[in-house]
Symmetry: C2
Subunit: 648 residues, 2 copies
């Protein structure tokens, strides 16, 4: 009995499970799953070094299923191996073959697409929105390098999926960082959802591209066990990462799934027996039991992590001096982005699992301060924000705390990746600099004005059993706030977004001011109205308050530096002032939505809002662009006055 | 006097203008601009067939400056040529060399990055968020093909920028569609913002990649006029699109800009004379006047366009029967996505400039109905949503009305591209299917739950002097609504987003129901409370109303199918009911934010909101997932009851 025949028999047997579970679920992608039959069988039983009972091990090899819809084949293998499922090791149990019939049930750990957060820890990141997996794999591989671990990472990518540009961003990134422990396996089954894949994604084209991107490439028949085995025997190679282009058949082993378009369609129950018979024919009379391969566990690994809540830090003053911003600090004016850079560098001294990623703008985001201090934990991602964010998700899966950085505007490039990281409950921190409109001269293509609305929507939902929101948003107004909020982001478990600004601003807080999740700060005690704002606009609102004060109008300024905020505390302020004016340097849907939502709970308050009401353009000064967009200091003061004069 | 020397003299003279304008502005990217000196000079004076006085001509060749920050070189050439600026031909005037000193001023047409909407019609789309230009170029080229026009399209791409995956999505797309009239010019100056570009973006690497993607490639010295000319003489080629990889020097001609990192930094005023002297040396004593080249206008072009507001359409009943959905229609149950597909096909008969783009999911979005009826105006973009959206922006710039389609979730992949299209004031329509959570089984990686918050933020700002919002959002509840909203989207000028749903739903409207921008529909006249919702949730809310009615509670249901809505009408309803409950199948920040904002204007109303409050997962039925996320019919009814019982 050759190994090859035994492996095929096993692959066919697993194929039955894949077919069975999608039919039970009434949906899913059996034909895509079957195209991976041999590849998954060889990887999960023979090649990968892991213990199915301990998928949490940081020493273990990993499989990233980028084409997430093909997941039934992985579920089938994992069920056969009795792999551990559950949200954490304390609540784990082995998956059984009969469990597969729960696929896609609301209570099942077997989600429609890979999702570690619902109890399938064999995976590291949610996939299913396509093209993200190789970036996750790169993050996992970099993490292993920092941990001095033996981990190797396999990534299965669909041919149609390889049309997503992010795949090629990851191909570049893997070469830049010499990640020879990453193996990309391109599953060339030739069929997409609506039609065949383009000739641009043929096996030949994919191989040519991978070579042009600097990878070693092997082309094989993905259903020839000997070829699969030999291609992977050669991995990892010393000099280059390896891409395997595997020609496969969508619906392999099941005749009925190979004619017509079966993408995303399960077989009707009535056709199951025929399908099983077809897969039995593929076994060619070989007993599945002759395939006795089992994965073996790697040696254990000791890694260095520290609880960020338990480390001692220097304050901003000392850190600013240490990292070359002492002069600016002493003058009392420092942009939030600079203070953030200092905070990262200081944190890096105490939190070994802190890593920083940047997209060729580290001299704008000031992550270059961290890069200089901790060069081995700084990762230059170049101009490819999608890959950067998914790589960060990979890092997070390995227990690191990644901060991913770009202009706030350019993080919008990765909103889909950010959402998949949120679905994974990845502990990823995102920091967008030059946010809002205060960067002025560069114009709207560089300005983030929908970011607060987008991230706030994630503040309205919970990350499961935790009370924390899916994502926290921080908008620090000065250097002390930025420094403290960075510390909060490190301490919080889960996704956080911070919005820093370009201009240097005076300090309005000090080293004693605390910035808690859901916190807010008030300035002044005026009872005529509350002016509620955050970030850079705190300074503009202070100007407006000074103008109002000259006219005898006394406001309370609320710095709502965190979303979600404390509704009760905000309602206390509104109860004192009766009226509220929200001011923000972005389109609506951010602070104003938060405040209006809170104002309409219980006995409602009247709220007025000033936000950016036109598409911005360039201006040479902050004042000019604020004025043009309707949120200048004088406009705020004028609006406040008319609000108080109105009787409606 | 050789042509080459004269061109270099001209390039140097234009270089002075580029340096001058960035110094006057106090910001900008002179060194990037100078790296394009010869390329831009040859293109804009010799190669391109256009009339600088008529940049609106649909026959003219186009230049897409994907690396938008290098724009001062284009401004310099256009000023020297006296090109027309202004928001429309009626208000146009020629740009003069002295105008360049207004660069980046708030009132200037010369925005910090390319932006046609602020009065620079030589450009077709806002660029500056990197990697989008080649996709725009592809859209312009496809439009020219449909128009039977002679247009050729040049796209200048930075080497560092070529790290963005979207560039390679566009390389694929151009080949798929045989767009040999597109020329990609890769500007390999070797320097990025924070550091040198990666070896993965070296001239050699870019050339190898472009070849692997199926393009003809020529490598040249981008400062050798003869080489530039010869490379472009050969364009267009009959079989393949042409990529030119041009080695250039960042800061060409100005010694002072070539040492150290000058990315994004203008010269101080004090160094201008030295820079001019340096550029004079580059002229090598050749008089700029010897370069007498001027672009020549192409023949005029007649194109077919019809005002969508003035065409007659068949109603849904007739169209559904015509396009094969008559049976479902007659049964009274039809998903909004299906009715949308029918609407597109019907519209296609009457509006010749309607084009449809889809990302390999046309059998899910039902744009395959349009594809079958109007195959020459359907564009398969494969799994590359970023390229799809920017291609649509290119189509829009040429007067077409593109509908770009995918799952709502996957459009998030292109939110940055969508925002750049909005900045361009592009008449792009976006339709996301399978939105919200009602698709159930496939799980959260396929569900759009932050989309309404994102797009609503664009509803809070105006597209300039127009009263219309930057983007309209439509959420049709049934087939009649989807059919009518599609018609509205066609009629409205500017960006629109429609959210369709997976499940078949009963029809609650009829052919006589109208769906106006800012409109809403009420169901019932109960005064106990208002239940405000939209889209699929209208049906769930109707179930909840039936449950409440059994308990003697009478509500008014508000179908808020359009954002922004009519605040006065919504306040009328709330005045009648006193209390309001908003229900939506997405995270907060969408409908609830709209309603709370309106409720807090003037005398405020109390509003309660039910939205998705946890990250969704798979479920086998709509009911199960709605229940898990807190928005099932019974939960709505229970919440309404407790709301009425509460005295606070």
């Amino acid at each position: 009995m050759s190994d090859a025949k035994a492996l095929t028999a096993k692959a066919a047997e697993l194929g039955k499970l894949a077919v069975r579970m999608t039919t039970a679920a009434g949906s899913g992608h059996p034909s895509s799953a079957l195209s991976l039959a041999h590849l998954v069988t060889h990887l999960m039983y023979e090649k990968m070094r892991y213990d199915p009972a301990d998928p949490w091990s940081l020493a273990a090899d990993r499989l990233v299923l980028s084409e997430g819809h093909a997941v039934p084949m992985v579920y089938a293998a994992y069920a056969d191996l009795g792999g551990a499922i559950g949200r954490d090791p304390a609540r784990a149990r082995p998956l059984t073959p009969d469990d597969v019939d729960t696929l896609r049930e609301n209570a099942s750990e077997l989600d429609g697409h890979p999702n570690p957060a619902e109890g399938f820890p064999f995976f590291d990141a949610a996939t299913g929105s396509l093209g993200m997996g190789l970036s996750v794999a790169a993050g996992l591989a970099l993490a292993a390098r920092l941990d001095n671990g033996p981990r190797q990472v396999y990534c299965l990518i669909g041919d149609g999926e390889a049309r997503e540009g992010q795949i090629w961003e990851a191909f570049d990134f893997v070469v830049d960082h010499g990640l020879t422990t990453v193996c990309a396996i391109l599953n060339a089954n030739g069929e997409g959802q609506a039609a065949d894949v383009s000739a641009q994604q043929s096996a030949e084209a994919l191989a040519a591209k991978a070579r042009a991107f600097g990878w070693d490439v092997v082309e094989i028949d993905g259903h020839d066990p000997a070829a699969v085995k030999q291609a992977l025997e050669d991995f990892p190679r010393p000099d280059k990462p390896l891409a395997i282009v595997a020609r496969t058949i969508k619906g392999w082993g099941v005749d009925g799934l190979q004619n017509g378009n079966w993408h995303g369609k399960p077989l009707p129950k009535s056709e199951l027996d025929t399908a099983y018979a077809s897969l039995d024919r593929a076994k060619a009379g070989v007993d599945t039991e002759t395939f006795a391969a089992k994965p073996t566990a790697p040696a254990s690994l000791t890694v260095e992590r520290r609880d960020p809540r338990e480390v001692e830090w220097d304050g901003l003053a000392a850190a600013a001096h240490e990292y070359g911003l002492g002069g600016a600090f002493d003058k009392g004016k420092l942009a939030t982005r600079r203070a953030y850079g200092v905070a990262l560098a200081e944190a890096g001294k105490h939190v070994p699992q802190l890593v920083v990623l940047d997209g060729d703008v580290s001299n704008s985001t000031f992550t270059n301060i961290f890069a200089k201090a901790h060069s081995t934990r700084f990762f230059e991602c170049k101009i490819a924000e999608q890959n950067m964010v998914s790589t960060a998700a990979g890092f997070a899966a390995a227990g690191f705390i990644p901060f991913a950085n770009s202009f706030g505007k350019f993080l919008a490039r990765a909103y889909d990746q950010i959402e998949l990281a949120a679905i994974s409950r990845a502990n990823v921190k995102l920091v967008g600099s030059h946010s809002g409109i205060s960067l002025a001269a560069d114009g709207p293509s560089q300005m983030s004005v929908a970011d607060v609305a987008f991230f706030r929507s994630f503040a309205t939902a919970r990350a499961d059993d935790r009370e924390s929101p899916v994502c926290w948003t921080f908008q620090p107004a000065d250097a002390f706030a930025a420094y403290a909020c960075t510390r909060q982001m490190l301490a919080l478990r889960g996704m956080c977004y911070m919005r820093t600004h370009r201009p240097d601003v005076p300090m309005i807080y000090d080293a004693e001011t605390t910035f808690e999740p859901r916190g807010l700060h008030t300035h002044g005690t005026g009872t005529d109205l509350a002016i509620i704002t955050a970030g850079f606009m705190v300074h503009v609102a202070r100007e407006a308050m000074a103008l109002l004060e000259k006219q005898g109008i006394r406001a309370t300024l609320v710095d709502l530096y965190c979303l979600p905020t404390d509704a009760a505390r905000l309602r206390e302020v509104m109860a004192r002032t009766g009226r509220a004016l929200v001011v923000e340097d972005n389109y609506g849907g951010g602070l104003a939505a938060e405040v209006a939502g809170i104002a309409t709970m219980g006995n409602p308050f009247r709220v007025s809002a000033l936000h950016v009401t036109r598409i911005p353009k360039s201006a040479r000064s902050e004042e000019a662009i604020l004025e043009q967009c309707g949120v200048g200091a004088r406009q705020i003061a004028d609006h406040a006055r008319s609000l108080l004069a109105s009787t409606v």
